[in-house]
Assembly symmetry: C2
Homo-oligomer: 355 residues x 2
C-alpha cells in the first residue's frame, strides 16, 4: 500500500476576484473561487498535490479524456452557519463514490487523506466565498480526467484530480414537468449508470432537449429493456408519494447511489414516514394518479436538494399533480437544509466541520 | 442554412519533427504530425477554421468536456500509393457519422466543406508523413469537444472541432482470444452505443481489464437485456463464419455503423460470399463450434482493419477456432488494403484522392 505523507504544496493567489462578485445574482457553475486543487497521477502514483490560483491549464490535443471519456466527478457543497463555521455534508460518501466511479472506468483510486486535505486547504483559503444563509453554499466539484497524450483505446497511465469551487445561491426551484422515457434510455444493466461518469451526462442532453421541445423540463428515465420501471429523474434520484407512503427505486448498476437520496431515506425513518425501496412501475404510478392517491413526485440531488415534479406525461397521457399543503418535499428540504447549516441537531454525524 | 465560405487560415510550422521519427517503430497514437486542424464553435456558428502547428492547448478546468463528456470522434486513414498519390477511404461515411454522433450528444453539426477542406489542407502539408507500402497509413483523428467553461449539466454553447494525424505502421495483428460478456454491457437500447461517443470507450476499459486478467484480450459484447445476442468485439464490429456463410449483427442504436463493416458487406457480395445480416445468438455460435461448422470469427475496424479471433469463452466453456487455409479474414483484408492503396480497381468509388 502506498502511503501518502507529502505535504500539499500551496501557492496562494496574489489577488482576489471576490470583490467583483454579485452574490445575489449567481449563475450556477460559471464563476469559480480564487484557488483550485490539483493532483497528478504519474509513474503509477498520485504525486504531491497542489493548491494554486484558479487558472486555465494546458492539455495535449491527444489527451485521452478528449477521445475516450475517462472522466468522473462529484458534486458537494460547503455551508456556513451564522457564526461563520464552515461545514461539509457527508463528504466521505462523495469520496467513496468517486473511487467507485473511477474503478468502473479503470481509473486509479484517489487517496482519502489527499481528498480531505485538499478540501480543507481550499475551504480555508476561500472561506470568504461561502455565504451564510440557508440555501447558500459553495458548490465543490472534484473531478478526475485522463491526461495521457496517446489515442490508443485503453486506460490511460496519467490522470489529473482537481477540485474547483463555485458559489451557489439559495434559489427557488420552480416545479418541473417531466416526460417518462419510452424510447431513449440512460443506462444499461451491466453498464456505468451507477457511476458519476462524464459520458452518462452527455448522453442525456439530446433526449432531454426533445422533451423540452414538447414543453417538459426533464425526463424520468425508465429501464432500457422494458421502459416499465421508473429509475431516475434527469440527473436526480426520484421519489413518489402514494398516499402517505414514499417509494423510490433501489440503487443498482443503472441507478446512482445519491447522497441526498440516502439522506432522505434516513430522514423518512426519523420522521416516521414509510419509505419503500423497491422497483416502481410506470403503471402503478399512473393508476395512483388516476385514483387521486399520487400526492407528490420529487427528485433529489446535491445541486437542487429537492426538485418538485408537478406533472408527467406517458404515452401521450398527461397527469397533473396538484400542489398539497403538507408536502413531504418541503418538509424534507427544510429538515435537510437545517442540518446542513448547523441549525438543527445532527444526530447521524453528517456534518463535517472545517476547522 | 448557414453558408461557410471563409477561407481556412493556415499557419505552417517553422520546423518539422519528421526527421526524428523512426517509421519502422511506431507506437500507435503517440506521435503526431507537424500540423493540426482547429475550428471553434462560438456565437451559434463554426468560426473560421485554422491549420496550425501541432501544439498543446489551453482549457478552463470547467470546460464541459471534462465534466459531462460531450465528446465525439472519428477514425480515418490516409494511404499513399507507389507513385506518391494520397487517398482517403470513404471519408464521406466518417463525415456523416461524426454528425450523427454529435446529434445524439446534442452537439452542433460540422459543415461538410470545412471537414473536407481541413483534411485536404492537413494532408497536403503533412504528406511526407504518409509512408507508402501496403498497410502503412496516416491515422486521422477528427474529434469534437465541448469547451464552454461552465459546469451546469446542459449542452455547451462552445465546441472545438479538431483533426490530429498520427503515422501508423503496417503490423501483424496476432489473433486474439475473447470472452463473451455475461454481466457487463456496452450499451443500452435507446442509448448512445451507435455513436462514436467518448464515454462509450471509457465504459469498456474495466470489463476488458477483467477479461485480460483471465487471459483474454477482448470482450465480445452481448445485448444488455439478455446477454444472448452477439453484438460487437471490443471496439470493432464482429463477423462469424459458419460453414461458408458469414453472419454479422445488424446496426442498431447499440451497434456502431462501421465503415469497414459496411465495406465488408459489399466485398462479400462482390466475392460471391453469402453474408447474413441478422441477430446472432451465443448459442448458435457455440453449437456451430461444437459441430465443427464455426470456421472463423473476426472483428473489423479502421485501426486494425481485421482482427482474427482464435478462441472464445462463454460461461466457463472455452472454444478454440483452428486456423484455416482459405480464410475469409485474410481474403477480405488483402482485398480491402489493395483498394485502399490504389492497387486494385475501385469499382465502388471508395477512394478519395487528395490532389
Amino acid at each position: 500500500m502506498t502511503h501518502y505523507t507529502d505535504k500539499i504544496s500551496i501557492e496562494t493567489s496574489k489577488t482576489s476576484k471576490i470583490d467583483t462578485v454579485d452574490f445575489d445574482n449567481l449563475d450556477f457553475g460559471r464563476l469559480f473561487t480564487d484557488h483550485m486543487f490539483v493532483c497528478d497521477y504519474e509513474d503509477g502514483k498520485w504525486q504531491t498535490p497542489k493548491v494554486m490560483p484558479y487558472q486555465a491549464m494546458t492539455f495535449e490535443p491527444s489527451a485521452r479524456v478528449f477521445h475516450y471519456g475517462q472522466a468522473v466527478f462529484e458534486g458537494m457543497k460547503a455551508y456556513k452557519d451564522d457564526e461563520g463555521k464552515v461545514f461539509l455534508f457527508r463528504p466521505k460518501a462523495n469520496f467513496d463514490r468517486i473511487n467507485k466511479s473511477s474503478e468502473r472506468l479503470a481509473m486509479p483510486a484517489f487517496p482519502e487523506n489527499y481528498f480531505f486535505e485538499g478540501l480543507e486547504a481550499l475551504l480555508k483559503l476561500d472561506s470568504d466565498w461561502i455565504q451564510p444563509g440557508v440555501g447558500n453554499s459553495l458548490y465543490l466539484r472534484p473531478f478526475i480526467i485522463a491526461t495521457e497524450p496517446a489515442i490508443s483505446a485503453s486506460p490511460a497511465n496519467n490522470y489529473r484530480f482537481m477540485i474547483i469551487c463555485s458559489p451557489a445561491k439559495s434559489y427557488y426551484n420552480a416545479p418541473v414537468r417531466v416526460l417518462i422515457a419510452e424510447e431513449y434510455s440512460r443506462s444499461a444493466d451491466g453498464g456505468v449508470g451507477f457511476a458519476k461518469a462524464a459520458g452518462n451526462y452527455a448522453a442525456q442532453f439530446y433526449p432531454t432537449s426533445l422533451a423540452q421541445e414538447k414543453g417538459f423540463q426533464q425526463i424520468i428515465w425508465t429501464d432500457a429493456s422494458t421502459h416499465s420501471f421508473l429509475e431516475e429523474a434527469g440527473t436526480m434520484n426520484v421519489f413518489f408519494r402514494v398516499g402517505d407512503k414514499l417509494i423510490t427505486a433501489p440503487t443498482s448498476d443503472r441507478i446512482l447511489d445519491g447522497v441526498t437520496r440516502k439522506s432522505m431515506l434516513q430522514l423518512a425513518e426519523d420522521l416516521g414516514i414509510t419509505c419503500e425501496v423497491r422497483r416502481v412501475t410506470v403503471e402503478e404510478i399512473k393508476t395512483a394518479a388516476k385514483e387521486g392517491e399520487l400526492k407528490e413526485i420529487f427528485g433529489t440531488g446535491t445541486a437542487a436538494v429537492i426538485s418538485v415534479i408537478s406533472a408527467f406525461e406517458h404515452k401521450g397521457e398527461l397527469f397533473e399533480i396538484p400542489e398539497i399543503e403538507d408536502s413531504y418535499a418541503k418538509l424534507f428540504k427544510k429538515t435537510l437544509l437545517e442540518i446542513q447549516h448547523n441549525i438543527s441537531e445532527d444526530k447521524h454525524n453528517w456534518r463535517y466541520e472545517i476547522k
